[in-house]
């Protein structure tokens, strides 16, 4: 058996000369013996190989187009076996690579390892660094989520400011004047093809030159020389394992790389920030107002790069070498300071209390607080959106062929609050009155409402509020500023029913009757969140209906039932009060918002509510049909529910 391998090996070596190659690559002498300080270059190679391997497997699942990029990354992250781990390793190893690069670079400069004859290899190293940064930049966009989209679009907009060629370069990178399919295909080709190819080519040259000049030994003294194999390889492997451990640790700690909501060109992400290692550049740009930006974005970074490239020549003398080290410390210190400043500005609101800032009465601090608050709010909102989209994508209805963004646009839970804030919140509130507003993150608060609070419209509790003398006169119902209804017939009817001259026994009876009516009204609304119908409830609803259509008049002193003013199914007439047939059902609410002054609703008694969709031609309406539907569905709590299991009927 051994003999067979031996002769096979001979045959192969005879034709390919592999033994010499292997020998050459493994038996490199290391002056002064293997040392831990020599591991950094090798860990970088290992990091790159990790990126190649994980990248290729990600490639097998990734699909670059605006309807599939986020969607395929979602699939990798949430559905494939260990997909989150694969993507997480790729994500965090990329960051590790940047750190390792910095260490490697620092060490080379510190040790003066760039001196003749190694200048050329130093330059190759700098080119490799630029390629790695290019990989980081292009990779950030590929998930096509809000974070990557907006951060990268800021980056490419900056590129368009480059003198002369800027706009054309941007057009070529983006594949047009706007972000789209071609941006993804181009960035992906750069990220998975052009840049890794270039990196490999330059890496081969870098290592070949490194071997040609031999290792730059720091102090080839006391210890004996040793060979690369196995002494240094052992140390390198242990270091590689340590790097991998850190990356795995980060991946598990953060549960993989983040995936924010799908990129939405129409909805800016106010927390768009580059990856942390580019934050210093982001912060640096703030120093260059207006047209001076070219200095911050191109000229100064370009000059710094130029200085880095000539470092080997500056460092030929001892003074020059010290200058290089000082320069590098200055650059790294500056970058660290800028990064810290960027983070401090962004999290200013989280680390300072609003009262203290207001007390300081400093407009600069106040502006900083406000900006930071916006950043933090945008982040929270983006998290909420991402969670919801992922919840929908995981639900049995999955992602439609038009992509996850269209799914977001069709979701009442996501769009409802935005549309409500834009179109309704200047008059209406949306706050649960039973809890303090501060405890409701999703409440939409209007301090001076000029219309009823719409939280829980159509529910039993909401209907009970109208039939409660204190509540109907409160700002949540008809007690808002300038309301014509607070002294109207409805409020008077409810107040009189529980008036001072009414006996307690009578009041209790009325309360019981109103409770049944509230249940009957909720049945009209048919809210998806309504309680389950059982025999007992059905009976109460039937009793409520009978009370509305005449039963009340026999019971109350006023001698009036609901249908004396309202229409309810076949009883009563339209004209004096809103129709209670299908009250707060989807159809009812839609028709109401379209034209509240219609005969079926408030008619001439309508307060200030505008008609949002009175015309048949949707072009002429303030709100299109889809937006109307989204607002109504959201108010009625009618959206796809995944996390709360729906009980079977």
């Amino acid at each position: 058996m051994t003999k067979l391998f031996q002769s096979l090996g001979d045959w192969f070596d005879d034709r390919a000369g592999v033994r010499k190659l292997i020998h050459e690559s493994l038996y490199e002498p290391i002056p002064g013996g293997a040392r831990w300080r020599y591991v950094w270059g090798s860990t970088l190679v290992m990091a790159f190989v990790t990126q190649l391997v994980t990248g290729i497997f990600l490639w097998m699942a990734y699909s670059p187009s605006t309807q599939t990029a986020w969607e395929s990354v979602f699939y990798i992250q949430y559905e494939m076996n260990g997909g989150w781990l694969l993507r997480g390793i790729h994500h965090f190893m990329a960051q590790a690579m940047v750190v390792l690069l910095a260490i490697h670079f620092l060490q080379v400069v510190w040790d003066g390892a760039y001196r003749a004859p190694r200048e050329l290899n130093f330059i190759l190293g700098l080119i490799l660094m630029l390629i790695v940064l290019g990989l980081a930049l292009t990779g950030y966009l590929l998930p096509w989520d809000q974070k990557g989209y907006w951060a990268t679009s800021v980056g490419t907009n900056l590129a368009s400011q480059a003198p002369v060629v800027g706009p054309d370069v941007k057009k070529l990178a983006v594949g047009g004047s706007e972000y789209g399919h071609q941006t993804l295909t181009r960035f992906f080709a750069l990220h998975a093809g052009v840049l890794p190819g270039a990196l490999m080519a330059f890496l081969v040259l870098h290592i070949a030159l490194f071997r040609r000049h031999g290792l730059h030994a720091r102090k080839p003294d006391h210890k004996l020389d040793s060979m690369f194999w196995p002494d240094q390889v052992l140390k390198d492997s242990i270091a590689a394992l340590a790097v991998l451990t850190v990356v795995l640790g980060l991946t598990i700690y953060f549960r993989g790389a983040e995936l924010t909501a799908p990129a939405d060109p129409a909805n800016p992400y106010d927390a768009a920030r580059p990856e942390w290692y580019f934050l210093f550049l982001f912060q640096f740009l703030k120093w260059f107002p207006g047209e001076l930006e070219v200095w911050g974005a191109f000229i100064i970074p370009g000059l710094i790069m130029a200085v880095l490239f000539v470092m080997p020549w500056i460092g030929r003398t001892r003074t020059g070498h010290l200058i290089n080290i000082a320069l590098l410390c200055l650059l790294l210190g500056g970058a660290a300071a800028l990064t810290a400043q960027a983070i401090h500005e962004d999290y200013f609101a989280a680390w300072n209390s609003k009262e203290d800032i207001l007390k300081a009465d400093d407009p600069v601090l106040a502006a900083r607080y406000e900006a930071s608050e916006r950043f933090l709010n945008a982040k929270t909102e983006a998290h909420r959106e991402a969670e919801r989209v992922i919840e929908l994508a995981e639900s049995p209805q999955r992602i439609p062929p038009t992509g996850a963004l269209s799914m977001m646009y069709d979701d009442p839970l996501l769009q409802g609050p935005k549309l409500f804030a834009q179109n309704c919140a200047s008059c209406h509130n949306f706050v649960d009155p039973s809890k303090p507003a501060e405890e409701q993150p999703h409440a939409i608060v209007n301090a001076k409402p000029t219309a009823p609070n719409l939280f829980g419209v159509g529910s039993e509790a909401w209907a009970l509020g109208i039939l409660n003398p204190e509540k109907i006169a409160s700002a949540h119902y008809f007690g808002y500023e300038g309301s014509p209804f607070v002294d109207g017939e409805m409020a008077t009817y409810v107040t009189d029913t529980f008036g001072a001259d009414i006996s307690d026994e009578q009041k209790a009876k009325a309360k019981e009757a109103f409770a049944k009516i509230a249940e009957a009204l909720e049945a009209e609304a048919a809210l998806p969140t309504g309680p389950k119908l059982n025999e007992e409830r059905k009976n109460r609803i039937a009793e409520g209906r009978a009370l509305m259509t005449g039963g009340l008049s026999e019971m109350l002193d006023s001698g009036m039932s609901c249908t004396d003013c309202h229409k309810f199914h076949d009883t009563g007439d339209l004209g004096s009060a809103p129709d209670l047939t299908g009250y707060m059902s989807r159809e009812w609410l839609l028709a109401f918002v379209r034209n509240p002054a219609g005969e079926r609703f408030y008619g001439d008694n309508n307060d200030r509510m505008p008609a949002f969709g009175p015309h048949d031609n949707p072009q002429l309406n303030q709100l299109d049909d889809k937006s109307l539907g989204l607002i109504v569905d959201w108010l009625r709590g009618d959206w796809v529910r995944v996390s709360e299991p729906v009980e079977a009927e």
Binding site: D14, R15, T66, Q67, W150, S153, V154, N157, L158, S160, Q161, P167, D168, K171, L172, V174, G175, G176, S177, E178, G180, H181, Q182, P265, A266, N267, P268, D270, A271, A272, L285, K286, F288, P289, G290, E291, E293, A367, E370, A371, R374, F375, A378, Q422, S426, H615, D616, N617, Q619, L620, Q622
Partner: protein, 202 residues
């Protein structure tokens, strides 16, 4: 066919030059360079031609109906409206997409509102506005603009120019009952960011 150890590798084999070689080698070299270059450059050229496509595409700025004039009272307050237009992205046509946003502001007594695109002239982020505030604010690099679109800090602002105003026109549309209703239309031009001048991207 295998090399025996005493044979030098092929690259080191010397061929003695002959008399006619000088003249012939000039043609050989020229032909080799030309033929080789054509063989290599043709695919590169074809690839580049395809790659440069975006530089030759011209897009037109759409005229977009933004709102009814009634939705913009002449109280000088900015109002935010999404810009909905058909959008083409390479092979996909998206009907009625939000392609951006504008702020419409009508001062007291003005017939026609002013329209500002929400895209920041600095780096293209969306400029925000909190109802009631006296300034527009960009979340990215903290540029601030007055309600007339000018920069709060003038040339000390990060943004190189004020907010971009868009051409506005008022059109009359017929309602179902035979009346007319005034609509605000805007030519939605996309401008290059980062320059002092307004240069359309298309």
């Amino acid at each position: 066919m295998s090399n025996t150890p005493d044979q030098p590798p092929p690259s080191l084999v010397k061929i003695p030059p002959t008399e006619s070689a000088t003249r012939r080698s000039f043609f050989a070299i020229t032909a080799a360079v030309v033929a080789g270059s054509i063989a290599v450059l043709t695919p590169i050229g074809v690839g580049l031609a395809a790659f440069l496509t975006p530089l030759f595409r011209k897009s037109k700025s759409p005229e977009v109906r933004i709102a009814l004039l009634d939705q913009v009272p002449d109280d000088g307050m900015p109002r935010y409206f999404p810009v909905v237009a058909d959008r083409e992205d390479a092979w996909t046509r998206y009907p009625a997409q939000r392609v951006g946003a504008v702020y419409l502001i009508r001062l007291a007594g003005e017939e026609k509102p002013t329209a500002f695109t929400a895209k920041c002239p600095h780096a293209g982020c969306f400029i925000g506005y909190t109802p009631g505030a006296k300034v527009f604010q960009c979340p990215c690099h903290t540029s601030a603009f007055n309600l007339d679109g000018s920069r709060v800090n003038g040339d000390a602002e990060v943004a190189p120019r004020g907010m971009d105003a868009l051409p506005v026109s008022i059109r009359q549309a017929k309602t179902g009952d035979g009346n007319t209703i005034a609509e605000v239309w805007v030519e939605f031009i996309d401008f290059q960011t980062g320059h002092k001048e307004k240069i359309p991207t298309a």
